[in-house]
């Protein structure tokens, strides 16, 4: 990973602030809503509800290497370790008698969008029963091929059903003008975030995917507020400064790599070092690009529906291949690494075939490795290292042949 960023301190403060805010807010009478990462949170912010991201809690626990520990508390309740690692952390923490990353914030209500997967709704349902809090599912059928008006109309109708649900549950009123303001801020933050991500296309780059994983927390949690806008302005400035001074992400960048999807959080450093040791920088992943949208302020609800349902997480096999290839082209990648993540069936099932297709279509080497994004009990360092080293050897061979 790159040398420490100045903004890292700011990020730490921001996130501490975010975690503290939940309980503080509740005391002030602001309801806490559990939300999912790819969710029209703009409506939540516009209705003065505090959005809490249990997935973020899972990622935090995973990065601090305590996911296994927390998960065991869930497993003891009958939630098996075949389930999503984040869900196991969140559920486990509820039953745990130790809280190594603080307590997961109990919800007053839960709103969930299922574009990402079917695990989140099941986790939220269980949490809703446990906390006896009302639960609302924003349902989005997969877009397998072409975008359909049927799916979009369904989603828009549900957005209004959700507004109704939120008004009834919290007593807060929905206001379209307020929503438009929030959408403006969200568009601005995502624009800045994508400007930052694009810096990885420079060769050598000042910033890579593993850095992006670190800096993405505000785009998830503060999206729709001035906080996120200010943060990514600061980050962008720092990156420009790095470019001017010639500070690069890794000492000797020779290869650019596309990585799919999420990092193995407890081994983030292990992976980034392994790549750096082979002069390879991971420059893009669909994961960090999950927040790359712009809203049409003239028709806010339709625009929210389009942005959130037409995302790759809600798309089929062929779209996902094309997206990966687009990233590889845009970031000028020499090869690709696909993470078959035991915690995440939607992002993993199909990767074996996708690897083959992408390799055929691009002529670039690619590899699939197996692990879990949070649970180290499914991590076999030796196996992964062998695979990746074989992949690096392919990169070297190609470069000698002058292919890169």
């Amino acid at each position: 990973m790159s040398a420490p960023f100045k903004t890292a301190g700011l990020l730490k403060d921001l996130m501490a602030q975010y975690y503290a805010k939940g309980e503080e807010n509740r005391k002030l009478g602001i309801p806490v809503a559990w939300v999912t990462a790819v969710f029209p949170v703009e409506i939540i912010y516009a209705m003065d509800i505090f959005p809490y991201y249990p997935e973020n809690f899972g990622a935090l626990a995973a990065a601090r290497k305590v996911a296994d520990k927390l998960s065991e508390y869930g497993e003891q309740q009958g939630y098996y370790n075949d389930l999503c690692g984040y869900a196991r952390c969140g559920i486990g923490d509820t039953y745990a008698d130790e809280h190594p990353v603080g307590k997961i914030l109990p919800p007053d209500l839960l709103v969930c969008c299922n574009t990402q997967c079917g695990s989140l709704p099941k986790w939220f349902e269980a949490a809703g029963r446990y906390h006896q809090a009302p639960y609302f599912l924003l349902d989005s059928p997969l877009i397998e091929g072409e975008v359909s008006s049927l799916g979009k109309a369904y989603f828009v109708e549900q957005l209004w059903e959700m507004v109704d649900f939120l008004e009834k549950t919290t007593g807060n009123k929905f206001d379209l003008n307020r929503l438009t303001e929030v959408l403006k801020l969200a568009s601005e933050a995502t624009r800045l975030w994508n400007d930052c991500l694009d810096m990885a296309a420079l060769k050598p780059a000042p910033f890579g995917f593993f850095d992006a994983c670190f800096h993405m927390a505000p785009i998830v949690t503060w999206r729709g507020t001035q906080v996120a806008v200010d943060y990514y302005k600061a980050l962008k400035e720092e990156l420009d400064e790095r470019v001017a001074k010639g500070v690069t992400a890794i000492p000797n960048e020779r290869f650019k790599i596309y990585f799919d999807h999420i990092p193995v959080w407890p081994r983030l450093r292990w992976f980034s070092d392994l790549f750096a040791d082979h002069d390879a920088l991971v420059v893009a992943s669909q994961y960090t690009h999950s927040w790359a949208h712009k809203f049409d302020l003239s028709r806010p609800m339709e625009s929210l529906a389009e942005v959130y349902t037409e995302q790759f997480v809600n798309r089929g096999f062929e779209y996902r291949i094309k997206l990966k290839m687009e990233f590889m082209e845009r970031y000028n990648c020499d090869g690709f690494v696909l993470f078959s993540n035991r915690s995440c069936k939607p992002n993993s099932f199909g990767l074996y075939d996708k690897r083959q297709v992408i390799a055929e279509r691009t002529g670039k080497p690619g590899v699939v490795f197996e692990a879990d994004m949070s649970d180290q009990r499914f991590f076999s360092a030796g196996q992964i290292q062998t695979r990746l080293e074989a992949f690096f050897e392919q990169l070297e061979q190609n470069s000698r042949r002058g292919k890169t």
Binding site: E72, E75, Q76, F378, S380, G382
Partner: protein
């Protein structure tokens, strides 16, 4: 009246003979060969020490994974119910039985009337069973009997995740390759098994008093690690 109980485990077979509810003979042998003949042999050997014959027995009950292959048993009953029943005779105050066998680990909860109230068993994976310890002993080139005593010598056990035997084995092998102390690895393995069993027991809520049975009960390090987890 003489009655006999025979337990055909995956590694050992055991026989007890009772006369009017009093234990008068017992025998333990490795389970070998075809269960039908092997079970008969071990029972006859035990009877021989008393000068008895098979027809002297009023009843025979078979248990263990091989129970359905014992042709002369009147009744086949699972280990789980047998453990509950056994505690009436051995330790009536026991409410939770932890059985660490070769293929399975079990937690059994017994009510005041010595009836099985609830039970859990490990899933298909061998992690958390005697078999797992055996695989690890092989990987470390240590005899199974030495595993427990060696574990007790460790001051800083390694942290080992054992969700799956295959994963754990490769982790152990790489720890050895890194030159970590074998004793600490072994201690880590014991802790990991204890954690796995403890996690499983949580499903039935552990109640005092607790008895540990099965081959795993003989492993002092494992019992100690379990004691520590349960508190």
């Amino acid at each position: 009246m003489y009655v006999a109980g025979i337990d055909i485990g995956s590694i050992y077979s055991k026989v007890v003979i009772l006369q009017d509810n009093q234990l008068i003979a017992s025998l333990v042998q490795r389970t070998g060969g075809e269960i039908k003949t092997a079970s008969r042999r071990i029972l006859e050997e035990a009877l021989e020490t008393l000068g008895l014959k098979l027809y002297d027995l009023a009843a025979v009950v078979a248990t263990g994974y091989g129970r359905i292959s014992v042709p002369f048993a009147e009744k086949q009953v699972t280990e789980i119910t047998c453990f509950g029943r056994a505690m009436v005779h051995l330790y009536p105050e026991v409410r939770t039985v932890i059985d660490i066998g070769g293929q399975d680990s079990k937690g059994i909860k017994i009510d005041e009337n010595h009836k099985v109230e609830d039970f859990v068993m490990n899933d298909k994976c061998a992690a958390g069973t005697g078999r797992f310890l055996e695989v690890m002993a092989n990987a470390l080139e240590v005899s199974l009997e030495d595993m427990g005593p060696l574990a007790l010598q460790s001051k800083s056990p390694e942290v080992i995740g054992i969700t799956c035997t295959v994963f754990a084995e490769s982790q152990v092998v790489s720890l050895v390759a890194e030159g970590r102390s074998k004793i600490d690895i072994i201690a880590g393995i014991h802790q990991a098994i204890a954690e796995r069993i403890y996690g499983m027991l949580k499903m039935i809520k552990i109640e005092d008093r607790i008895a540990v049975t099965g081959g795993g009960a003989k492993n002092i390090a494992l019992v100690k690690a379990l004691e520590k987890k349960i508190g």
